[in-house]
Structures are given as C-alpha cells and as structure tokens.
C-alpha cells in the first residue's frame, strides 16, 4: 500500500501496561478516517506511538507512511516523513514565537543550507491565519502561551496547513472548543482535504464529525478496532452509546 498510512498488528505499552493490542488500520491517502471510542481505550496512545513519543514502547507490529516504516524512528524524522500530530494538549513554548516556530519546522524540511524565502513564507502564513480567523498579531505571540483552548487548537491547524503533511492525526481536536471555534477548525481541515492528504481523526464525540464528515468510522475498544463502517456508524454510536459497543461489539 504505497499511498496509505498502514498500521499492522501493533502492540504497544506504557511501562508494563499494554495499551495497543494487535491494532491494525489502513488510511488511504485522500480519505478521512475517524476513530471513536471511550476514554482509556488507547486512542491517544495510538497517536503518540505513531509520532514516536519516547514514553511508549512498541512490542511488535508495523506502521508505514507510504511504504516507509516509521516505528522506532526519532519523532522529528517521523514528522519529516510526512506524519503530523495535532495534539490534544499542545505544549506552551515560552519565548518562541509562532512565526519562528513554524519557520524552524519548514527550514528543517528544506535541503541543508538552502535559502529560506521569508517573503513567501509570511504571505502564506498570513493567508492561512486569515482563513482560520487568527489575528496576525499571533505571529509574534509565544507558541500557545496564554492561549485559550480554542486558540491552541487553531494554532495546531495553522501548523497543519503550513506543514502540509501526507497524513494528519488529529487527537481530540474538538476538546475545549466552543461551536464557533469548532466550525473554524473544521473548515481549516476541510480546506486541506484532497488527494494528497489522509486524515485520522480521533474523537470521543460525534459532533466533530458533523463538521469533518469522514469516509470511514472505526470504533476502538481496549486497544484495537472492533468495528468499522461508513459515516453513519458515528450517528449509530451516538444514539446507542458506548454501552452498545461494550455489549455487542467488544466481545463478539
């Protein structure tokens, strides 16, 4: 599957505690897949493991970005291979402005020593901030410092739009958002949908999927996908609740 994000038979743990248990999923480029599931089922662990977070240990399995294995690589190498993680709780980075931060991320993707086109960079940055209804003054704000929940998530989407990854994993991007912010963030993601990008949208609630309509919905339970379906599965889950998953699906 060269044009896909492929996760195969992934087992991963935090310390001694197994979290991902034989997890498999394929997200073809150009599609939006949603993972839904109750808290504690391993959704955020999946996101962190894919991004190469050092606190998680992979026991076995594969993850490939367009055929390139990414497990075991340093997080910066994974990112440059084309995987972007939008954080559930983005870190505050004192003293580093948004403009310098995104610039450093773009410079890291250039050939070493290549000139950086600052003029084009700012033109693009401002255009994307306008689309996300972010005040241009944000460029000189320190990354996420003193931001509201909504501002942090908008900042994540701004980075996503600037870095143009092959695959984006959105970890609970809807948490902490009011309805206006949710709409703006969703519009940003929808504007990026297209044949060049695949999305894995992790969410606890169905409401985000009203705005970012998925091609496929997967239900996660105890470290693995237990059920998959079309976008209507999210509605069904919303209606029946996670107890339904527990009774009907988890031990099927």
């Amino acid at each position: 599957m060269p044009d896909s994000l492929v996760i195969r038979n992934l087992h991963a743990s935090v310390g001694e505690r197994p979290i991902l248990k034989n997890f498999s999923l394929t997200v073809p480029k150009g599609e939006v897949h949603a993972i839904m599931g109750p808290n504690g089922t391993g959704k955020s662990t999946l996101a962190k493991v894919l991004a190469g977070h050092p606190d998680y240990v992979v026991q076995s399995g594969d993850a490939l970005v367009d055929g390139q294995p990414i497990l075991g690589l340093e997080p910066d190498v994974v990112a440059r291979a084309g995987l972007f993680l939008a954080f559930q709780y983005p870190s505050e980075i004192p003293g580093v402005t948004i403009a310098n931060f995104i610039r450093a991320a773009l410079v890291a993707r250039q050939a070493k020593g290549a000139p950086f086109d600052a003029k084009a960079y700012y033109a693009e940055l401002y255009a994307k901030m306008d689309a996300l209804k972010m005040d241009r003054k944000f460029t000189s704000r320190f990354v996420n410092e003193g931001f509201s929940g909504g501002e942090k998530k908008r900042c994540e989407i701004l980075q996503l739009m600037m870095l143009k990854p092959r695959y984006a994993v959105l970890d609970e991007t809807d948490s902490g958002l009011d309805i206006d912010a949710l709409r703006i963030v969703s519009e940003g993601v929808n504007a990026m949908r297209g044949p060049d990008t695949g999305f894995l949208v992790i969410t606890h609630y169905q409401r985000l999927l009203d705005h970012i309509v998925p091609d496929r919905v997967h239900i996660m339970w105890d470290g693995q996908i237990v059920h998959s379906g079309g976008k209507e599965l999210a509605l069904e889950l919303e209606e029946k609740g996670y107890d339904w998953v527990k009774k009907e699906l988890a031990h099927a």
């Binding site: 997080p75 980075i93 580093v96």
Partner: protein, 437 residues
C-alpha cells in the same frame, strides 16, 4: 609598557609611563590609593563566602600588562566595526584602554551641558568631575582586590554627565576592544544623570579575535538623580581566554527609574558584582542578567539590592543557559534597611542546563529589617522540559535545533525587557552564535 599589572613593587614611573604621566594630582592620588590597597589586600581565598563556588584556586591576575596604543590601521578597522548600537547619538571607541574615537556631541547637547568624554579629556578639561564621590564606592561583594588594581591603573574609560531636565532621545554607545594578546585594561564609567533627566548608554566589551587572552577590570558608578530615567546595557564578549571583572554600583534617588542589563557571552571566566542602592523614595530599579555559558566558561554573578528608602521597587531577573562543562554562580542578596517600608523587592535566578556536565549554583538571600515589605526570591535550575521538546520534534525540528530554539526561548524573557530593540537584537545574535561555537 610591558610592566606586569599585578606584580609586587610596581613603581610610580611604570604607572605613569603607561598613561602618559601627565595626569593631575587627582589621578595620581587615585592611583596611589589603589596601589596601596592592592598591596595590602589578599587575593580571595576559598574561605571567603563572597567567592563561594568560584574557582578561586585558578584565580590569578598575573601575566597581563597594559598594551600600547593600536596602529592607525587597527584603530580605524575597529572603529568601523563599532556600530553596535544603531542610531547612537555618539560612540566612544577604546582599544586596549586607549581612546581611538571620540566624536563630538551635537551642539544642542553641548549647550545643554552634557558631558560624554573619555576620562583623559575630563582630566584636562573638567577635573572637578573626577572628584566625584562615586569614585570612592567600595567593592562590597568580594572584588576589593580587583577594584584596587583598577584604581592603581586608573585613567581609561569615560564620564557621562547629563544635567537636570535634559533628555537624550538617542542612546550613547561605548565600545571597548581588546586587541593585543595579554593586554590588561581598567576602564571606569562614571555616569551621573541629573534630576528628571533621561539617558541610555550601551557598553560593548569585545575581543578583536575570538581566542584572545586578556584581562579587564572595569568599574561603573551610575547615579540616577531624582526622577531620572536611565537604561544601561553592558555586554561582555571578550576573547575566549579572557578574564573579566565588572564591579558596578547603581544609586537611585527618589522616583528614579533605572534598568541595568548585563549580558555575558565571552571570556574564560567573568565575574560581575553589582550593588544597587535605592536611596530615594519610590526609586524603581530593574536588574537583568543573561548568559549563554559554553565550553569551560565560568560566569560568576554577585548582586546586592539595598533598600534604604521607603516605597522603592527593585526587580532582578538573571537567566543563564549552560552547555558543555560550563559553570555559573549566582549569589544575590536583598537587604531591606529599617525604615524602608512598602518595599517591593524581587529576585529571580533561572538556570537552564543543556548538558549533564554543566553546573549552576544559586545562592539567593533576603535580609529584611522593615515590617511592611513585599519581597520574594526564587531560584530554579532545570533541564529542557521533555514535553516541550517532544512538541518541537513532532513538528520535524531536529533535536539540536529544537534544544537551541527552547534555550533561546528561555532567554527571551530577559531580551524582551531590554528597551532598545536594536541593541537587544545585537545581544540576541551574539548569544545565538554561542550555540554553534
């Protein structure tokens, strides 16, 4: 010319030949007193609390000598490289302690009575300015021996006098270059800003080559009159084998506002002693320190904030980033005298260790003899937050660049408090270069 500066038995003749021997009595008096004090004082010892954590065993003032005046070619090359303060009203340039450029002030400022001149000119034209009591400030924080040596060789440096109610809109700049290997220089800055007057002065201490071994002992006496407003910036970027001692005294009268910034970049070992005396009601002094320590560098910072008047405020923030096997020592004391009610005094030292072999020692202290005060001090020494680092890595920024970006972010809190954006940029550039040295 090549008499060692610290050897016993330095003669009057040797001293006078180094400075032309034409000084008036005041100069000779200052030097004689300095010489006598130097002879009688011991070198700091390991049991001296004011040198705690400093590497006193390797401390030596031997092996340096004042250098002669630079060649015309060297002087003009260095003067060309001295435009560090963009938009400076005037720039004084010294090379190995010799003044090589002394542009005239504008007619308006001269008419207003502003003096900004090398001490050698002041000796000739305004000798009364050198009788200033500021020259008698003792070194309270351990550097008495070094200050005595500085006075024994007194004659380099400058005087800035701003009369009452005169506002300088553009900063003044002073650039000290070390050029000759083994050279010693002893500049003094005598800054007196009158009531309600306003001035900014930037002092740059630079090595003409990156690896020079030189000695500098500088003394600064800054006096802010009632309601005066001063920003002072001292940037130390000597060659990598240099020894540097800066002994500063800041005195703030009623409602004076002073910002004093010390940036430490170069030298093998550099020590800053800064005594601030808030002696008028409502005085407001901000003290900022910023350091990137690399290699085997030792930066030693000793501060004293004395609140001698009610309702005054002092706020100190020193941030050090350490790499390699570098060391920093911060020792600061807030002293609130009886009667200094409604004091607001703060002292913060934060150290960021970027290497397991780096070491930062911090000794904050409070001594309060008044009962209605707001005082706090805090010291933290830590490493880069793993979560912050992961966030940067997850954006594709490689480890070294991510650590550098976070360290620069750590320092930014100090840099953004420097009033002059151009000067802050110049300091930022010097600090960033240290991550690639």
């Amino acid at each position: 010319m090549s008499a060692p500066v610290a050897a016993a038995g330095v003669t009057d003749n040797a001293l006078q030949s180094a400075h032309g021997g034409k000084g008036p009595a005041t100069l000779a008096d200052i030097r004689r007193a300095g010489r006598e004090a130097f002879a009688s004082l011991p070198m700091p010892g390991r049991d001296d609390e004011r040198w705690r954590f400093s590497d006193v065993r390797s401390l030596s003032l031997d092996g340096f000598a004042p250098a002669g005046a630079p060649s015309t070619a060297d002087a003009s090359r260095l003067v060309r490289g001295s435009a560090l303060t963009a938009d400076a009203e005037a720039t004084l340039v010294f090379v190995d302690g010799h003044c090589v450029s002394h542009p005239a002030l504008s007619a308006v400022l001269v008419k207003a009575g502003v003096v900004f001149a090398p001490i050698e000119d002041v000796v000739r034209e305004r000798p009364e300015l050198l009788r200033d009591e500021a020259l008698r400030h003792p070194a309270l924080l351990g550097g008495a021996k070094m200050l005595a040596l500085q006075r024994a060789w007194f004659g380099s440096g400058y005087v800035l006098h701003v009369p009452d109610d005169v506002e300088l809109t553009k900063p003044l700049s002073v650039v000290h270059w070390a050029l000759a290997e083994g050279s010693a220089s002893f500049p003094h800055a005598l800054i007196r800003v009158g009531a309600r007057a306003r001035a900014a002065v930037h002092e740059w201490r630079l090595g003409a080559q990156p690896d020079l071994r030189t000695l500098s002992v500088s003394a600064t006496d800054l006096h802010a009159g009632p309601g005066a407003k001063i920003e002072r910036l001292s940037v130390q970027n000597w060659g990598s084998a240099a020894q540097s001692f800066e002994i500063d005294t800041v005195t703030a009268e009623a409602a004076a506002e002073v910002t004093s910034v010390n940036a430490a970049v170069g030298a093998r070992r550099a020590r800053l002693e800064n005594v601030v005396r808030l002696q008028g009601e409502g005085a407001d002094v901000r003290l900022l320190g910023i350091t990137v320590a690399t290699g085997e560098q030792e930066f030693d910072q000793r501060t004293l904030q004395v609140h001698a008047a009610p309702g005054a405020r002092s706020d100190l923030l020193f941030k050090n980033a350490l790499l390699d096997r570098a060391r920093t020592v911060f020792s600061g004391l807030i002293k609130v005298e009886p009667g200094a009610q409604r004091t607001d005094a703060y002292q913060t030292n934060r150290n960021l260790l970027l290497s397991p072999e780096a070491e930062a020692d911090s000794l904050p202290g409070l001594e309060i003899e008044a009962n209605d005060v707001k005082c706090s001090h805090g010291a933290t020494t830590g490493q880069i937050s793993p979560e912050e680092l992961f966030y940067l890595l997850a954006r594709g920024i490689p480890l070294a660049a991510a650590q550098e970006l976070l360290a620069q972010g750590f320092l930014e809190e100090v840099l953004t408090r420097i009033g002059d954006a151009g000067a802050a940029d110049a300091v930022r550039g010097m600090l960033r270069a240290k991550f690639h040295s």
